[in-house]
């Protein structure tokens, strides 16, 4: 069970900012994205523009294998615009 955080456009599309999701402990970042899109299909629209932050480290959507612990924070990170 991980905490998924939504920001900016992804929060608008998902309709919420935070939720708990049950996912396999070992999962690629792309598979994790697909799990999230099952719950929030409107997120598919931004698939090419987001990265994850897993335990506050950026992770691209792809084959990278994630080892998740219960309570880990996973954030959906649309293109940033600070400064």
């Amino acid at each position: 069970q991980v905490s998924v955080l939504y920001f900016a456009r992804s929060a608008e599309l998902a309709g919420l900012r935070c939720e708990t999701l049950s996912v396999p402990r070992e999962i690629t970042s792309l598979q994790l994205w697909e799990e999230i899109v099952k719950v929030h299909p409107r997120l598919a629209a931004i698939r090419d523009q987001v990265v994850f932050a897993v335990r506050q480290e950026y992770v691209l959507l792809g084959d990278q294998l994630l080892i998740l612990q219960p309570g880990d924070e996973v954030a959906i990170i649309p293109p940033i615009s600070g400064g």
């Binding site: 293109p79 615009s81 400064g83």
Partner: protein, 155 residues
């Protein structure tokens, strides 16, 4: 305000209230430094012919602070003479012409602080999880920094 030890410090703040140039520059002033360099990011009133009513900023706050700390650490590696670094970023609603970010760096001589300030703002725009939404008269738009490597360059 005393800085008796004058140990190099990083002052990082994300806040909803109006930012103060005086406050941020005073944080980094040091008797050992002959230079304080500043960058102020302000908000423009127009984009592609549309009138911007105001901006709204949101942040992944805990990670944003961590990423800014990493930037400060990198600055000290690249410019070891840098003394104090302050990065204040505003969140929430920011009216036109008010500052959304202020960065100040002090160093004994001016070259290092000028270069460090530029590095800070450029790297912040590429790596710190903060988002800006421009509110127009009848719609809004999430902005994307060109420095952000995962943004699409063409839409």
């Amino acid at each position: 305000m005393e800085k008796s030890e004058d140990v190099p410090k990083d002052f990082i703040k994300l806040k909803l209230e109006k930012l103060s140039v005086d406050e941020v520059s005073e944080l980094v002033v040091s008797p050992y430094c002959g230079a304080v360099s500043l960058f102020i990011g302000t908000t423009r009133n127009n984009f592609e012919g549309k009138k911007v009513i105001h901006l709204e900023y949101e942040a992944y706050t805990s990670m944003a602070e961590t990423e800014i700390k990493k930037i400060c650490r990198d600055v000290r590696q690249k410019w070891p003479s840098v003394k104090h670094i302050a990065v204040h970023h505003r969140l929430g609603v920011v009216p036109i012409t008010e500052a959304s970010v202020i960065i100040a760096v002090s160093s004994p001589h001016r070259a290092e602080s000028l270069e460090a300030v530029m590095y800070c703002i450029n790297t912040l725009k590429a790596s710190v999880p903060i988002w800006k939404k421009e509110i127009y008269e009848d719609e809004h738009s999430w902005k994307e920094n060109k420095e952000c490597f995962w943004a699409n360059s063409e839409k």
